[in-house]
Amino acid sequence: MYFTYIRRELRRRLKQSLVIAFGLAIGIALVITVSSASAGVKSAQRQVLHSLYGVGTDMTVTKSATRNQAGPQRFGGFGAAPRSQSGGARHLSRNVLHTSFGSSTLPASDVAKVGSLSGVAAASGGLVLTNTSFSGVIPSGNSRGSGGFGAPSGTTRPSFSLDSFTVDGIEIGENAVGPLTRSQVTSGSYFSADDSSAKVAIVSKTYARQHSLKVGSKVVVAGEKLDVVGLANVSSGAAEVYVPLATAQKLANLEGKITTVFVSVSSASKVSSVASKVKAALPSATVSTSADLAKRVSGALSSASSLTDSLGRWLSIAALAVAFLVAGLLMVAAVSRRVREFGTLKALGWRTRRVVAQVVGEGLALGLLGGLAGIVLGVAAAAAISAAAPSLTATVGSTFATGGGGFGGFGGNGPAGGARPFGGAQDVLVHLTAPLQAHTILIALLLAVAGGLVAGGFGAWRAARLRPADALRSVG
């Protein structure tokens, strides 16, 4: 009787039932879509962070160059570049592996210092470098030496080219933490234990494609030819070439030095406390957690994050609130039209709570109907976002973010993982998805039930208040 009565009654007021269910469906679909998009944005943010940190890294320890420090290795100027002469013109070329502008180095022994702290699961050293190559031609008859570019009329014009790519020197032990993992190498092989100071390299697939490299090719780093042993799938903000740490130290004339300590913490809840311990052990270093880096992410991804977190959330709440209110009011109206019916049921001996249960049941049924429709709509919307996979860029803050004096100030928060070429902000391209999570569907179902209870509650309140005598008093 109970379910039959509910089913027949909802069918009798089909239009109204559909309006209530549809309103709830829209609100719930918005919740699912916004939650999924928000999860997608967070996933994209993690991707951005992983591209700079490496998977498994919870924090990095770096050192910013101070005003009085030499800072990055100098390029050496044109006077130091190898030259050759032909037909009166001077050919210059230079290939240098150097740290990024604005970053300094740490002693390699700091890795063991950090690794010995409690709460640290693993610590590895790394060198974040840039390989810059310069080549140019200075025509003959130029009396301005290495700094001059003017050419008398009728002679060959000077021409120069500058090229650079990023190089990460990484530890290759079993427990190493860092920007490249074994599983990212999809072609060839990862470094073996024997490769610790060998002239070998793993190259990103994008870089390999751009420079027609494959496993077995040679890649020139700091003027040395390295064998490409593997190709890796890395995100757009990661390094282009990876070499064993000792090899990178030798090529960059930085033996015994590192730019970064990559740290893995034993538990996510300990990140903050471990960061404090590291800071205490290495007072001159900069400790950056993923939370710190997340604050420096700007660009389209950051905007998307703000959009889903604030506007998206409030839009969902508003839509749900309106849906609940409309559902409640419609149920009250429906109960008001059934005053005689409920009065008759009470005349038959139905207790108020039985009548209330009937009305609440109708509300719940509508809530579940709206919830199911909302889940279908929300899942479809999330799937559409994932299928479209819009590209978003994330810009990770520059080395001058905390300016201790503008262009010349390097004190304070240095970039995590070492700044990339010339100390500028780093752009990472990610594709937005909207992954569905089980708890989102569960929340949607609970909201559906809540919506039904609210709608039914409004109606039940009206039903509980009605006096059968008023309902049944005949007129005429």
Partner: protein, 232 residues
């Protein structure tokens, strides 16, 4: 069975206060067939609602089997309505979304009759009133007379001791009216009911054994004329 003493009932209608009953004294014995007659708006329906425990008097007592209905809790009144009182209304008041059989079953919901027995009892009651072939029809698919018979079946399926009918023939044509009132009379005799019928129709009132006339909220008894007893 019923003992009403100085019963008064007033209620508000907008700004005005309506005195529906103004000092009613009435005794209804077990097995009586009482017709309550009077012009429109004189308190007839109000009296019926008080007898059925659906309303409480503003003052006075409505005694039923020694208990003052005015002092009972809502749960106790609901219990009496579920077992002792059956109601029949002028507008039938059937649930429009339920079939004839399901409508009759609604009267058994608040009783202790098991779910699987309700079905059979409802069908048997409809059969007794000649409506077995209409059991699966919705009220909209029944004639006025058939709807009222379904309503009577609903009122009687739980075997109440009192049947309270408020203008049961008010919405029926003459032929149907005679049919329904005849049916009520028959059931009154067969089941030993105490039957109270509110009506403004003299033809209906004449069938009762007692007649009470309400005027200006007060009641006076009169002799019904031409009552034709129905042989059992």
């Amino acid at each position: 069975m019923y003992e009403l003493t100085d019963v008064r009932k007033s209620f508000r209608r907008g700004e005005a206060t309506v005195q529906a009953l103004d000092g009613v004294d009435l005794t209804i014995d077990k097995g009586d067939f009482l017709a309550v007659q009077g012009p429109t708006g004189q308190g007839k329906s109000t009296l019926l609602l008080l007898l059925g425990g659906l309303d409480r008097p503003s003052s006075g007592s409505v005694g039923f089997e020694g208990r003052d209905l005015a002092k009972l809790s809502e749960a106790e009144l609901a219990g009496l309505r579920a077992s002792e009182f059956g109601f029949v209304f002028q507008t039938f008041n059937l649930i429009p979304t339920l079939t004839a059989q399901e409508n009759v079953e609604t009267a058994l919901v608040p009783t202790s009759v098991p779910v699987h027995e309700r079905h059979d009892l409802a069908l048997a009651m409809l059969d007794e009133l000649g409506l077995a072939d209409r059991a699966t029809h919705l009220p909209s698919e029944l004639s006025g007379g058939q709807q009222q018979r379904v309503a009577i079946a609903r009122a009687l399926v739980k075997k109440p001791r009192v049947l309270l009918a408020d203008e049961p023939t008010g919405n029926l044509d003459e032929k149907m009216r005679d049919e329904i009132i005849g049916l009520l009379e028959q059931l009154w005799v067969e089941r030993g009911l105490t039957l109270v019928v509110v009506t403004h129709d003299s033809a209906v009132a004449r069938r009762a054994t007692r007649l009470a006339v309400i005027e200006n909220g007060r009641i006076r008894e009169s002799e019904p004329s031409g009552q034709v007893p129905v042989s059992s």
